[in-house]
C-alpha cells in the first residue's frame, strides 16, 4: 500500500448529510458536506464544540449512519457495507484515537494494544510481539503490565495511540486526542501521532477545537454549524519544530489565505 500514488484521494465525502431527530425537532448536524482527503495527508476538522465535526468523523468511520450522501474510503462506499463487512474493513484499514482514551479498564496496556489484533484472529505470539514493540515505540516499554487506572492521562493516550497504530492501518481517526491533556502532554502526544503517521505514510483525520493543534495539519477543514466554512491547504514540508513560531497564530494565516 505504501507504493501507491501519494496524491490519490483516499477519502471522498460527497454531500454528506446527518439529521438527528430530537422529539419533533430535527437537528441538522452535518449539512451537505463534500471534501476529499489525499493519501498520507494529515487532515484537521476544526470547529467549535457543537459544530458537527465529531459527527462528521463518526460518519466517515462508519460508526454513525448517514442520512444522505456518500462517503467513500479506499474506493468503497462505507455506508453500503454490511455490518460484518464494515467491522472487517475497520480491522484492516482504520485506527482510532479517542478524547477519553476508551481503553479497556480490565486489561493491561499490552492487552489493550493487542485487542485489534485479537479481533483479526492473529496468533498469540505474533500479536504480543507487535503490541510490545508498539508500546516501546510510544515510550511505555516499562508499563506493559499496567492497567489504565494505574497510568496518567498522557500515558493512557499513548496506549490509545499504540492501539490505533499497532496494525499499521492506512487511516487513523483521532477525535480530540488531546482534549483531556495539559498543553505539554498534548504537544508530546501530537508529536507522537505526527511521527507515527510520517513513518508509515498514514492518513490522519483529526477533530479538534484547539487552534494550536491545527499547525500539525496539512489540510484544515473549518466547520461551522454542520457546514464547511473553509478548506485550508498547508504545505507540510516546512511544518516542523523550528517553524513553530511562524504559524503560532494560525487564525491569521487562515485570514491571509482567504
Amino acid at each position: 500500500m505504501k507504493n501507491k500514488v501519494k496524491n490519490e484521494n483516499i477519502i471522498e465525502v460527497k454531500n454528506a448529510k446527518k439529521i438527528y431527530r430530537m422529539g419533533h425537532e430535527r437537528i441538522c448536524a452535518v449539512d451537505d458536506v463534500s471534501f476529499t482527503i489525499k493519501r498520507g495527508e494529515f487532515c484537521c476538522l476544526y470547529g467549535a464544540s457543537g459544530s458537527g465535526k465529531s459527527t462528521l468523523l463518526n460518519l466517515m468511520a462508519g460508526i454513525e449512519k448517514l442520512t444522505s450522501g456518500q462517503i467513500i474510503i479506499k474506493g468503497r462506499n462505507v455506508h453500503r457495507m454490511s455490518e460484518k463487512g464494515l467491522a472487517k474493513f475497520r480491522q484492516n484499514n482504520l485506527g482510532f484515537v479517542f478524547q477519553s482514551y476508551n481503553l479497556m479498564n480490565a486489561m493491561t496496556a499490552l492487552e489493550n494494544v493487542e485487542l485489534p489484533l485479537v479481533f483479526k484472529h492473529m496468533g498469540n505470539k505474533k500479536r504480543k510481539k507487535l503490541a510490545k514493540d508498539m508500546l516501546v515505540k510510544v515510550g511505555l516499554g516499562s508499563r506493559l503490565k499496567h492497567k489504565p487506572k494505574e497510568m496518567s492521562g498522557g500515558q493512557q493516550q499513548r496506549v490509545g495511540i499504540a492501539r490505533a497504530f499497532v496494525d499499521n492501518p492506512e487511516i487513523v481517526f483521532a477525535d480530540e486526542p488531546t482534549g483531556n491533556l495539559d498543553s505539554k502532554t498534548s504537544k508530546e502526544v501530537m508529536e507522537l501521532i505526527k511521527e507515527m503517521a510520517n513513518t508509515n505514510h498514514q492518513t490522519i483525520v483529526m477533530v479538534t477545537h484547539d487552534s494550536e493543534l491545527t499547525k500539525y495539519a496539512d489540510k484544515i477543514i473549518h466547520i461551522l454549524d454542520g457546514k464547511i466554512e473553509e478548506i485550508e491547504e498547508l504545505k507540510t514540508d516546512h511544518l516542523n519544530d523550528e517553524d513553530e513560531d511562524c504559524i503560532e497564530n494560525s487564525d491569521e494565516v487562515i485570514a491571509d489565505i482567504s
Binding site: N58, A61, I63, E64, E83, K84, A87, K88, F89, R90, Q91, N92, L94, F96, F98, N102, L103, M104, N105, A106, M107, L115, P116, V118, F119, K120, H121, N124, R163
Partner: protein, 446 residues
C-alpha cells in the same frame, strides 16, 4: 476472535465480578444437584428392585388361596371369602396365556423328632414337576424328586438348626443344630386328631432328605414335598387315626389350600391376575405389594425432579439477569470493541461463552456435590427412606443398601442440561449486546 481468546476474555469478565458470578453459579449447582440426585435415586430404586427380584424370585408367582382376601380399590381389606380350589380350576389356569406352571398346594404342619430334640416343619406339598418353574433354589445335599422316586423331603436351609429340647429347664431357648450324618429324624403329624389307640402311632423315619442352599427368602424356613408323595404318607397317617377323625383328616387334603400360578414374565403378572379375577377368584402376588412401593418412590422422585426443574428455571433467570447486568456494565467496552472492528458475532459469542462457562462451572460443581450427596444418602439415608416409603419394602434395607446410584452417563447429561439452560438464558442478553449502537455505548461511563 479465536475461541481461545473468547474463552480467555469470558473468564476474565467472570473474574471481575466474583461475588455475582459465584452466586449465579450457585443457582446452577443447586439445580443440577437436584436433577442428578433425583435420577440417581430412581436408579437406586430400580437397582434394589432388580436385586430383590433376583434374590427372592417369586415375583412371577400368583397365589390363589381358599380364603381369598377381598380389598377395596384403595387396597384396604374388606372381607375374606371362601373359594373352592379343585383340579378343574388347575386345568383352566394351565390353559391361560403367559402361564408357564400351575400347581395345587397343600400346607401342613408336622413335628420333627431327633433323639430327645424336636422341631416343627411347615410342609408345602406341590407338584414336583413345577419346582423348577417356581425357581426352587439349588440343593446343597440330596436331589429333587424325579419321576422314578418322589419320596424326597426337601428342607429349607434353616430347618435343621431349629431343634430344641422340650424337657430342658433352661429358660433361654437354645436352638440345637442337627447333624444329618449322625442323627436320624422322624416326622409325625400330631395334635389335631385323636389317634386310634389300637394302632401304632404314625411316625415316618426320614431317609431321603434333600437340603436347599441358603437363599435369604421363604425357602429357608419351609419344607417341601411332592404332592403325591405327601398324600401317600398323609393317608398312611390317617389310617392310624380314630374312626371319626379319620374322615375329617382325609377331607382336609381333598381340596387344595392354595393354587400357585407361575407367569412367564414379570410384566404379564397383572394381566394374568386380572384374568383370574374374571374367573371369579381372588388372587395375590408380590407384584401387588411392590407396585404401591414403586409408586411412592416415583412420587418422591417426582417431587425432587420438580424441585430440580424449579431451581433450574430460577437459575436460568439469574443467569439472564447476570448477563443483562453485565451488558449494562460493559456498555462502553462493547462500544469500543465494535469501533475497533470486533465482528458482532464475536460479541454475541463472548456473552454466550460467559453464560456457558457459568453453566459449565455450575454443572461441574453440581456433579461434585451430587457425588458427595450420593455417598451421604447411601450412608445415612435409611431413616429418611423408610419414612418416605410406607412398609419400607421398596428398599431391601441392609447395611450395603444403595439408595442413590449415579450412572456413568448422568454427569454428562447434567452438564449438558446446565450448559444448555445457561446458553438459553444467555442468548437474549447476548443478542441485545450486539444491537447496541457503538457510538451510544461509548458515551456511557464505564
Amino acid at each position: 476472535m479465536k475461541i481461545s481468546d473468547l474463552l480467555k476474555m469470558g473468564l476474565r469478565n467472570l473474574r471481575r465480578r466474583k461475588a455475582r458470578t459465584i452466586l449465579t453459579i450457585l443457582g446452577v449447582v443447586i439445580g443440577s444437584l437436584f436433577i442428578i440426585i433425583t435420577i440417581s435415586i430412581g436408579e437406586g430404586v430400580k437397582h434394589n428392585f432388580d436385586k430383590q427380584l433376583k434374590e427372592y424370585g417369586g415375583y412371577t408367582t400368583i397365589t390363589i388361596n381358599t380364603h381369598g382376601d377381598v380389598f377395596d380399590e384403595n387396597g384396604n381389606y374388606v372381607e375374606s371369602k371362601q373359594q373352592k380350589l379343585d383340579e378343574s380350576l388347575v386345568e383352566q389356569l394351565k390353559g391361560m396365556k403367559h402361564v408357564k406352571a400351575v400347581t395345587p398346594v397343600i400346607n401342613m404342619s408336622a413335628n420333627l423328632y431327633s433323639g430327645k430334640y424336636q422341631s416343627w416343619a411347615h410342609i408345602t406339598a406341590m407338584d414336583s414337576d413345577t419346582f423348577e418353574a417356581f425357581e426352587f433354589p439349588a440343593l446343597s445335599m440330596g436331589e429333587y424328586p424325579t419321576n422314578e422316586d418322589k419320596s424326597v423331603i426337601i428342607f429349607g436351609s434353616s430347618q435343621l438348626s431349629n431343634f430344641y429340647d422340650p424337657y430342658s429347664r433352661s429358660r433361654v431357648w437354645t436352638p440345637i443344630e442337627i447333624d444329618l450324618k449322625k442323627d436320624k429324624i422322624s416326622l409325625k403329624f400330631e395334635g389335631r386328631y385323636q389317634p386310634n389307640p389300637r394302632k401304632k402311632e404314625f411316625s415316618l423315619p426320614l431317609k431321603n432328605i434333600a437340603m436347599m442352599e441358603e437363599t435369604m427368602s421363604e425357602f429357608d424356613w419351609n419344607t417341601y414335598m411332592d404332592l403325591d408323595y405327601f398324600k401317600e404318607i398323609y393317608l398312611k397317617y390317617c389310617n392310624t387315626l380314630s374312626l371319626e377323625d379319620r374322615k375329617k383328616a382325609v377331607k382336609e387334603i381333598q381340596e387344595f389350600q392354595e393354587i400357585r400360578v407361575g407367569v412367564d414374565n414379570i410384566d404379564n403378572v397383572q394381566e394374568v391376575q386380572d384374568k383370574i379375577t374374571e374367573l371369579g377368584y381372588t388372587s395375590t402376588s408380590r407384584m401387588q405389594w411392590i407396585q404401591p412401593l414403586i409408586k411412592s418412590s416415583d412420587s418422591l422422585q417426582f417431587i425432587l425432579l420438580f424441585l430440580g426443574i424449579v431451581t433450574m428455571v430460577v437459575s436460568a433467570i439469574s443467569i439472564a439477569n447476570t448477563m443483562v447486568m453485565a451488558i449494562y456494565e460493559r456498555m462502553k467496552e462493547i462500544g469500543i470493541m465494535k469501533v475497533l472492528g470486533c465482528v458482532i458475532t464475536d460479541i454475541r459469542m463472548l456473552f454466550l461463552y460467559e453464560a456457558a462457562l457459568i453453566g459449565l462451572f455450575g454443572g461441574i460443581l453440581g456433579n461434585v456435590f451430587a457425588y458427595i450427596a450420593s455417598i451421604v444418602i447411601n450412608k445415612y439415608g435409611a431413616p429418611l427412606f423408610s419414612a418416605l416409603s410406607p412398609g419400607g419394602m421398596a428398599f431391601n434395607m441392609t447395611e450395603e443398601t444403595t439408595y442413590s446410584i449415579i450412572p456413568f452417563y448422568l454427569p454428562f447429561v447434567a452438564m449438558g442440561i446446565s450448559i444448555g439452560v445457561a446458553l438459553l438464558a444467555g442468548y437474549f442478553p447476548a443478542r441485545r449486546a450486539t444491537k447496541i449502537s457503538a457510538i451510544e455505548a461509548m458515551k456511557t461511563e464505564g
